[in-house]
Amino acid sequence: MHVHRIIAAHDCGKALNPMTVEGQIEGSVYMGLGQALQEEMVWNKGRLMNPTLLEYRIPSTLETPEIESIIVESIDPEGPFGAKEAGEGSLAATIPAIANAIYDAVGVRINTLPITPEKILAALREKEKQRAGNDAPGTNGGSR
């Protein structure tokens, strides 16, 4: 599974420091990317099985794709100089964006994080099984 490119548009009200806002967007997208695909705390009877950064896998530079940030300025009358936030807003959007991209690519919806190749494979198998069941009731179970 490779994420090739992520484009994120974020309404920050007014970009007081556009470069910092871009940095915030990129950072958020990167965090969302990790949560979507790799990061997971694995528990076994109350014991954390992956307490180090070797096995709690945040993306490295090699997994982080090109990120294009688009700053949207709506000038919030309530905020200081029209500014709102540029914190983790883009994080939340990154996860469903990746889930949708996977659905678009292979046609299965994964509803738990992280979305691993293993889960996708299981979902594809399940889909195939259902299709085989629908297409050919009473035969020996389809094409595989």
Partner: protein, 331 residues
């Protein structure tokens, strides 16, 4: 996670290193690049009185031509040197393919071939901090008497998690080991004992000094495929190395398939050579060999990924690697 206090000895000759190992027995641990030893020391998986740093031993470095056209890789050859060697790229591509996947660039710069062949076996229940293991009450391999992977069993299933060893197995490589009684050479396949606790046939007073690649396997097509969750800095969750010699008419003359990270040792798939030699490519044949690879593998829950998925990937990688090596040459 602090390191236990150890004295560091820096021998400049092999003889001196062997003497230090012999004098200190189980109290000594060899260190070269340190990419495996240092994290293990931090987790207090062992607390040696003496660290024998073999980096200053010049004769252990580099790639040279040995007798009978064999290639000698010194134990201190770094993984980066292997990946960047035009000689290896041309003659033993499977090794380059495997070495390029080991950890990340920083570890490859420091990590050595000898170290990669002598890695500690790995397990979810073993590679944890001292605090974590103490709360658990230890495991069969360290400070306890229960295996949490296969409860009731008396065998340690910690997985062999090296990438270079399976590639070297497909090249019929030999390791040279030096100890107080001199040097000995061993086919790499005999170096691994398939026991999570006693992983390699290396005495406490011995060190791996070289790896020999025979001339007869030079030029073999080959490729290594590795399962990992992220593309950088991950140990293999499963891995398959393949080498093939295919003649002009497309008939296979030599074949090796080796798997890693799914047993306490890297293992050759015995059926592969038997079934492939003398044959032409067919999807059915490749599939059969891939199934044999699964039967050789015995993944248990020693890592984050499930055994079912790892088995599945062994089959897929074996099939893919054979197809690539057969059809495209050095893919």
């Amino acid at each position: 996670m602090t390191m236990p206090a150890s004295r560091v000895a820096r021998p400049s000759t092999i003889e001196e290193a062997v003497r230090l190992l012999a004098d200190n027995g189980p109290e000594a641990v060899i260190i070269a690049g340190g990419t495996d030893v240092v994290p293990n020391l931090q987790m207090k998986l062992f607390a040696p009185r003496v660290l024998v740093d073999i980096k200053p031993i010049r004769v252990l470095q580099g790639i040279t031509i040995a007798a009978a056209g064999a290639l000698r890789l010194g134990a201190l050859t770094t993984l980066t040197e292997i990946v960047g060697s035009p000689l290896l790229q041309a003659s033993y591509p499977v090794l380059v393919s495997a070495a390029a996947t080991i950890a990340g660039p920083l570890q490859r710069n420091m990590g050595t071939l000898g170290g990669n062949l002598c890695l500690e076996t790995r397990c979810l229940w073993y590679n944890q901090s001292h605090f974590w293991r103490k709360a658990l009450g230890g495991c069969l391999k360290k400070d306890g008497d229960v295996c949490h992977v296969a409860p009731g069993g008396k065998r340690c299933w910690a997985a062999w998690s090296g990438d270079s060893a399976p590639a070297l197995l497909t090249l019929d490589a030999e390791v040279e080991i030096t100890g107080p009684r001199g040097r000995r050479r061993l086919p790499l396949a005999q170096f691994y004992l398939n026991d999570g606790m006693n992983r390699i046939a290396l005495g406490r007073d011995e060190l791996v000094t070289s790896v020999y690649l025979p001339a007869r396997t030079a030029g073999r097509r080959g490729i290594y495929h590795k399962l990992r969750i992220r593309d950088s800095i991950d140990y293999p969750l499963a891995g398959v190395a393949v080498t093939l010699e295919v003649d002009r008419s497309g008939v296979c003359r030599e074949a090796r398939v080796a798997i890693t990270a799914v047993n306490p040792a890297p293992l050759l798939v015995k059926e592969a050579s038997e079934w492939l030699v003398g044959q032409r490519y067919s999807a059915e044949l490749v599939d059969r060999v891939a199934h044999a690879a699964i039967r050789t593998g015995k993944p248990l829950t020693t890592s984050a990924s499930t055994p079912v998925y790892r088995r599945e990937m062994v089959r897929l990688f074996a099939r893919r690697a054979l197809e690539e090596a057969w059809k495209n040459g050095n893919a």
